[in-house]
């Protein structure tokens, strides 16, 4: 019964949204894709317990991968999506091997260092990436050869929703699988997990690769639907933002990334409309308030309230 309701909700929500707000589909698709990006990070941070300040590297590889394919005559979106996910995964393998070696703070630093390194590389290689001007001349073919991208962003919205749904199902089944359970065991106690015979580094590296592929998918679809790729899609700033989105929503709960992305993007959009110069101050204050009031995110706070109520009864 509950499962049927959830499935109905996942199908009904986009249809309702398209009917009610046909004019704000572009922002909505960006929220969906940032949600997918944050979800990919949740697999890594929330389930495997590997914090990363450089996850935008893989989002950026997806975005530039799809963008470069489209700019060089390969505009077919779905095959490009699969291909860029593969590239992100291949790039993630050596990075993951490095990252999982460190301690908790060390991992944050290594990922931050790699993110800085990659964004510097993209900035330097302006012949390929377009540098600070962004990538020029993308030509994305219609989806399945049938649906071209309209100004309202309907195709982009549906495309983003379908990719998000598939990504969500994938992460859901990964975390419920024996592999996912072993990740959670490692998160809870790496020493004990190793003593039980879990190959800790191999499992964490594999989680890193899966998470990177998913982040690459989010980046690829973002590039294909907006037809813009710029340097900010792989910078440290975006890496910090996506981590913040996940933390606002709550880690290790699947929906946390989606909720956090929606809140962050809407607040960001609203504040930068309201106050284009000083919105950073407000975002900063909101994050500080969130860290103090709800360190486990919104979902964490809700769980706490619920359990408190049960005790009272």
């Amino acid at each position: 019964m509950k499962a049927a309701l959830i499935v109905a909700g996942w199908i009904a929500a986009p249809v309702l949204y398209m009917a009610l707000f046909p004019d704000s589909l572009v922002l909505a698709s960006q929220i969906l894709l940032m949600g997918l990006f944050a979800l990919s990070l949740d697999l890594l941070v929330g389930y495997a317990g590997v914090a990363s300040l450089g996850h935008a590297v893989f989002f950026g590889i997806g975005a530039y991968g799809a963008g470069l394919l489209a700019a060089n005559g390969w505009g077919e979106p779905l095959s490009a999506l699969v291909l860029t996910m593969l590239v992100a995964a291949i790039f993630a393998l050596p990075v993951g091997l490095l990252v999982v070696r460190g301690g908790s703070l060390g991992r944050l630093m290594i990922t931050l260092g790699i993110a800085t390194l990659v964004s510097e590389a993209a900035n330097r290689a302006s012949g390929i990436t377009g540098g600070a001007d962004g990538l020029q001349g993308m030509d994305v073919w219609p989806l399945l050869g049938l649906f071209s991208y309209d100004l309202q962003g309907r195709t982009g919205f549906v495309y983003a929703w379908i990719v998000l749904t598939l990504g969500f199902l994938a992460v859901r089944s990964i975390v419920a699988s024996p592999f996912g359970l072993s990740l959670q065991a490692i998160r809870e106690n790496p020493v004990r997990a190793a003593a039980l015979g879990t190959p800790v580094r191999a499992r964490l590296t594999f989680a890193f690769v899966l998470s990177a592929a998913l982040a690459g998918a989010a980046g690829a679809v973002m590039a294909q639907t907006t037809q813009v790729v710029a340097l900010n899609s792989l910078g440290v700033h975006l890496s910090a933002d996506v981590l913040v989105m996940l933390l606002i929503g709550g880690v290790g709960r699947l929906y946390g990334g989606l909720i956090g992305a929606a809140i962050f993007m809407v607040v960001h959009h609203w504040l930068s409309d309201l106050d284009p110069v000083y919105w950073q101050i407000w975002i900063g204050l909101i994050l500080i308030g969130a860290a103090l009031a709800a360190p486990d995110g919104i979902l964490g706070a809700i769980e706490k309230l619920r359990s408190r109520k049960q005790v009272a009864w």
Binding site: A51, I110, G113, L117, E120, V251, G284
Partner: protein, 288 residues
Amino acid sequence: MLAQFIGVVLDGIAYASLLFLISVGLSVTMGLMQFANLAHGAFAMAGGYMCVYAMQALGLSYLAALPIAFLFSMVLGVILERLLYRRLYSASHLAQVLFTVGLLYLSMGLAVLLFGPGAQAIHLPPFLQGQIAMFGTQLSVFRAFTIIFVLIVALGLAFVVRWTRFGARIRCSVDNRAAAIGIGIDVDKVMTYAFALGSGLAGVGGALGVQLMGLDPSFPLKYLAYFLLIVVVGGAGSFIGPLFAALVVGVVDTAGRYYAPVLGSFTMYFLMIALLLIFPHGLVGRAR
């Protein structure tokens, strides 16, 4: 050729001494509390802007503006530590990241609000301008001043850490917090003092850095990776470690930009990541 190399190394050392001055406080607070503080650069930026403000609006001399920058960042550090940081010492690293990213954005926004988005410049007093000949090369007087200034501060710090009671308390609290509390050291208070001193030093570093590192509202984010890498590569909680790490970063980064401009900061980042992998607990750190 050799003279040129010496010149590059001296420039690198000047840069390194600034990085050390800013990062050393972060090392102590990260070692004491294992706190993931991504907003440390904001204290350096605050010092830089205070220096600019003191000189331009208050008409003070450069040498008078430096201690003001120190005091300003120190007071800011005490207030924030007492009011906010303190509440998150026992929270998860992730909550600390959320908090300090918020502080980072807030500081950048406030800098735009108060000083505008552009880069700031200050006019050095005449006795800090010009070049001096040294080892067959030219070193700018300001760089020499920076190196000597930081050298004196570093020696002073080394004295405090090694030979004073306060230094002993810091070392004890870093080494074993539980034992420190057990023998009656007020670790909370040590933390506040260490945070104050570290923020103040970062403020002076930011003020000196207006010349060599530049100052604009993106400062704390732009140099975030530098400060954190220096601390983590050096070994959080140590004093000598960040000094080595800062020297490596400063010299390699400067030499890399000079001799291989195509690579930019690559050389430095590669080296840092390699060092971090070879010494996962820092050059002089230990496993915890």
